[in-house]
Point group: C2
Chain length 123, copies 2
């Protein structure tokens, strides 16, 4: 297992756009008249943040520039399919993005997205 360590550089770093689920984030919470679709979009994002494993996953990824999927399995104590499941949910919420390089999937947070979400709450 390794996290963001230098390694023999892989061939073509093929950039993969992971599930940009086009969530039209985010009008502030306070600011009247919240449509049902707005509510659902926001709920999806908060839903992604509503699981302990995913929060710690996000925290782990945020603590490094980039983290390999393989580096999450152990600290989170979840099976590989479960890790894959959670990364997908975070990615669909736009909170992380992934790029496949060689055999590994590298994840990083999307700071602007986090700020967007923060702005929902901070008036």
């Amino acid at each position: 297992m390794f996290v963001n360590s230098k390694m023999k550089q892989m061939s073509h770093p093929k950039s993969i756009a992971v599930d940009e689920n086009v969530v039209s984030c985010c009008s502030p919470l306070i600011g009247g008249e919240m449509s049902e679709v707005e509510a659902s979009d926001m709920a999806q994002i908060f839903g992604a943040l509503s699981d302990p494993a995913r929060l710690r996953m996000l925290s782990l990824i945020a603590s490094q520039e980039e983290v390999c999927s393989c580096a999450l399995e152990e600290p989170l104590a979840r099976s590989q399919p479960t890790i894959s499941h959670h990364t997908r949910i975070l990615a669909e919420a736009g909170l992380i993005t992934g790029e496949k390089r060689g055999r590994w999937m590298w994840w990083r947070v999307v700071p602007e997205r986090l700020k967007d979400v923060a702005r929902i709450l901070g008036e």
Copy 2:
């Protein structure tokens, strides 16, 4: 139905502390080593925000100083028990507080709490 309207002032405004669930909010998400309990506490809060009905409810309450439970049933199109259920969850997450005055339950947001949550995400 009425929202925050002047009304014949009720007798003893009995202040009721609604379910202070002592959620030890909130160390920033980025900032390494997130314990399981921290994660669970945060997850509880985000979980409260992860339902469209609750988000619209919170938005409604935030749009006025104070909102009566009875004023939520109609705009949210949910039954009275369901409204009660949701207010409880928001209150347990510390996002709103309620006070029973006369026959009515009045809810208001806890802005500091919202800011706390925002601060988790905004580095």
